[in-house]
């Protein structure tokens, strides 16, 4: 089994569990799946470290798509299949054994959910209704919000993976810590935007990253471009906050806007 193939499977499994957590409305299941997805992200990081140590390399290619399920049980059954497929890729080393035991627990958790009919419910994350919860927003505001969510959910996913790629290859402690902070912040943003997309019925996986995006040759230029992108994201948050007639959403976009400001400060430490 090629370790880079295992890396791809872990990457896809992380996304599947993460997006299942966005898709399901039940708060407890959502929380549990989100927590499992963070474990999967760490698995992916550990596998990536081992790939690099072995002198090989990995990429961010994916083949799996997000199934537009209509019920919670459909979502959970898809996850079970993917977890069981991934289990076939493990060998007997310490890391694989750890990942296997983690996933055996997740499988038992999902199996228990599937035994209780009351856990099944409609999934509205893919119905394309484009209404934001119970709020009545004009069409142009819904359009602006839709575009923002697609734009920014991709950007957060891109940032997580690009920073993780660079973090795995740096020996500079300051850079390592800055990358970790930025990854953590982007996880939170991706979660926030993913939840909003699910509420609007437009949940979709971010598109794949091409290697031209994450194989950074000039870190200085990357950081300067990244700061310009953060500025653009701040501007989008500011204009959405100004345009959307809803106090809760306004507060949220102001909150994200100020977080982007500090990202710029963090990024400057990479220069």
């Amino acid at each position: 089994m090629q370790m880079s193939k295992l890396y791809q499977a872990k990457h896809e499994l992380w996304l599947s569990i993460l997006f299942a957590s966005f898709a399901i409305n039940d708060k407890q299941i959502k929380r549990d799946l989100y927590n499992f997805s963070t474990i999967e992200f760490r698995h992916m990081k550990w596998v990536g470290g081992d790939v690099l140590k072995s002198g090989d390399d990995y990429n961010y290619d994916r083949t799996k798509t997000l199934k537009k399920s209509e019920t919670v049980f459909e979502v959970l059954n898809h996850l079970l299949v993917e977890l069981k497929e991934t289990a076939l890729l493990y060998s007997d080393n310490v890391l694989d054994t750890r990942m296997k035991t983690d996933e055996n627990y997740i499988i038992s958790y999902i199996t228990a959910l599937l035994e209780e009919k009351k856990n099944d419910a409609e999934v509205t994350a893919f119905n394309m209704k484009r209404t934001y919860a119970d709020k009545e927003l004009p069409k142009e505001q819904i359009d602006a919000l839709t575009m923002f969510l697609f734009e920014e959910s991709y950007k957060e996913y891109e940032l997580i993976l690009v920073y993780a790629y660079m973090q795995a290859r740096t020996e500079n402690i300051t850079h390592f810590n800055v990358f970790q902070d930025l990854i953590d912040e982007s996880h939170f943003h991706l979660q926030s935007f993913g939840e909003m997309m699910a509420k609007m019925g437009i949940l979709a996986l971010p598109r794949e990253l091409h290697e031209l995006t994450y194989k950074v040759k000039d870190i200085q230029k990357f950081v300067v471009d990244g700061i310009a992108e953060e500025e653009a994201a701040k501007e989008m948050c500011r204009s959405l906050s100004g345009a959307i007639e809803d106090d809760g959403l306004k507060r949220f976009f102001d909150f994200v806007n100020y977080q982007e400001s500090y990202h710029i400060e963090l990024m400057k430490r990479l220069l």
Partner: protein, 150 residues
């Protein structure tokens, strides 16, 4: 021949579909033409892959780190040229360019980047057919999509 070609004007269900699941997105391992259009000012790029059999564009892929307008245009344009001949592909460029009038300056530049990447892939294919060694043909964009913020 282009009756059903629509540009992204507002958020209609078709545009939403392209946003949620862009068509022909990714890499093409057996490409015989690879082109990149890059905006050096912002670092944004579009990479376009083609696989041709004679004059027929049998398969296409594209990828970008650009905005969602670029993604939607790439998805629509790649569907237009897939399984068509190269001549059709070149005409499709003109057709798309004719429709640029209704777009914002930023959308127009995003669209140009997709079309230029396709042109670059055709140039790369020609170079390879002539026996030249060129991994990828790169076209640097004259205009930057920072245009609106300036």
């Amino acid at each position: 021949m282009f009756e059903n070609v629509k540009m992204p004007e507002g958020m209609n269900p078709e545009v939403l579909e392209h946003l949620m699941a862009p068509k022909n997105y990714g890499k093409l391992d057996d490409a015989n033409g690879i082109g990149v259009a890059v905006d050096e000012k912002t670092g944004e790029y579009v990479i376009f892959y083609i696989n041709t059999d004679g004059d027929i564009i049998k398969d296409v892929r594209y990828a970008t780190n650009g905005c969602q307008d670029t993604v939607v245009v790439g998805s629509m344009f790649s569907e237009m040229v897939k399984n068509q001949n190269i001549d059709y592909g070149k005409k499709a460029i003109s057709k798309m360019e004719l429709k640029l009038g209704g777009l914002t300056p930023k959308q127009r530049i995003c669209t140009d980047m997709v079309l230029e990447a396709f042109v670059a892939s055709l140039i790369n294919r020609e170079h390879l057919l002539r026996g030249e060694k060129e991994e990828v043909h790169i076209i640097k964009m004259k205009e930057s999509c920072e245009v609106e913020s300036e």
